[in-house]
Amino acid sequence: MIAPHMYKMAFLSKGIALNANPGQFVHIKVPGDNSLLLRRPISIHDVHPQTGMVEIVYQVVGKGTRILSGMNAGQFIDVLGPLGNGFTISREIKSALVVGGGCGIAPLKLLMRRLKDMGVVVKALLGFRSREAVYGLEEFEMLSDRVLVTTDDGSLGRRGLVTQVLGEELQQLPDMMFACGPTPMLRIVQQLAREYSVPCQMSLEERMGCGIGGCLVCSCAVRTPDGGFEYKRVCKDGPVFWSQEVMLDEAPNER
């Protein structure tokens, strides 16, 4: 346990450690309870290609994640991955603003590591509920040029939500914004990215089935050129989407 309800797990998988891109996820079968059929999609927190170590950070939200959090060292785990379309990091990016809230912070570590490896100037805005909920701050600080923390209650860093300081931070425009967090946060990030004309990639979450694009249950509405929309698969077309294409408002009603 790294914070209340937040757990970190590491497992060995050379294939995943070598091939994972930031923003991708692993699909984990909950061991020991056959009544829980579906795998749990959990974002990749970090990888160590040399040792084959893969790290995930997740919140315990139900029976499945509770069982995962009770696993012991040495046990085997059934993992499918790396899956999905991660963040796109092109050579043109010289400066990046990384915005994360709550559980959405987990996948940003590998992103920041890769950005740093490429010599990108990285600024991170990380929002937590309170001081107790903060984890991995030292690592985030090591992997970026500046970290700004906000907490809802002001017990650490700035008081309030990340989105309340985002406007200030955008006075200096980055080449790219990357965001992951709860939908209300993403809505404001999307709005500000549009206002300031900053390209922005955001990672979404949705209840998933197969995780490989076959069952069409994890859909999100994406704008189409004709002014309409279509449902894309969060697991295969995402989880990372361009902010201007995603429709985060109440799902459109047309069938």
Binding site: N34, L37, E206, M208, C210, G214, C215, N253
Partner: protein
Amino acid sequence: MKPRMSVKICGVSFKNPVIAASGTFGFGREYAEYVDLNMLGGIAVKGLTLLPRKGNPPPRIAETSSGILNSVGLQNPGVDYFIEHELPKLLKYDTRIIVNINGNTIDEYCRIAEKLRDVPIHFLELNISCPNVKQGGVAFGTHPDVVYDITRSVKAHAKQPVLVKLTPNVTDIKEIAIAAEKAGGDGISLINTVLGMAIDAKKRRPVLANIVGGLSGPAIKPIALRMVWEVAQVVSIPIIGMGGITTGEDVVEFLLAGATAVGVGTANLISPTACIDIVNQLEEYMVQNGIEDVNELIGGLEIKSFC
């Protein structure tokens, strides 16, 4: 000796009785990265409609004990797109292709069947059992007279044999199956999902945006077995049994109940290799039990009187 695994449905031979069920296997291509599609008895592709269909808003899935509820709502790119872009990729594999078709009206079903007339697929699966659409779907599958009409109409337009996919959400599955057979249906696949609902007690809201959805997975296997068995008593056309199959032994149970082949659905969502794993387990069961030909199992249920 390797047991014989092949079965015949309407004169079409399947290399084994395991078919990936519609809606859980995309158009095959999504799974080709993980499994050799040539090893499958058949693939029932994602349900198609005449025009592209967006599907229902998310969330579309909820996990329940030993089951899942879905309300995808037939999201698909339409029959024309399928013929032009998806089918050519699928035809590279040596497996049987079943095309699941859906419509808002009987006329729409017929027009899809027309479009598929000269396309090299093996079967049409007449989906009159989707619980997640407002028009058509299950509405066509709950009354014997309507089942008769739609089956007869589609048969008049279809070139390939027609499997009628039935819903379990009826009072008497036997009379529905009899209607499908009388109308000229070439086979029956059952069961589609069982209408269900999940509620989030904390939020006091339904989990699915569509409020209700179709239950699948091991939770519904006993219902499916009972219905396959009941239908097998009253029709002579072949049955593709499905509902909660996750192991080779589950397949054996469906064959014993009277199915000629089986559909594997929800298991594909748990593991992309599920169908192949199940084929291997079935073969292992046959070896261990000295069964040389899988056809020996079909309808082989022994019912002892208990008195």
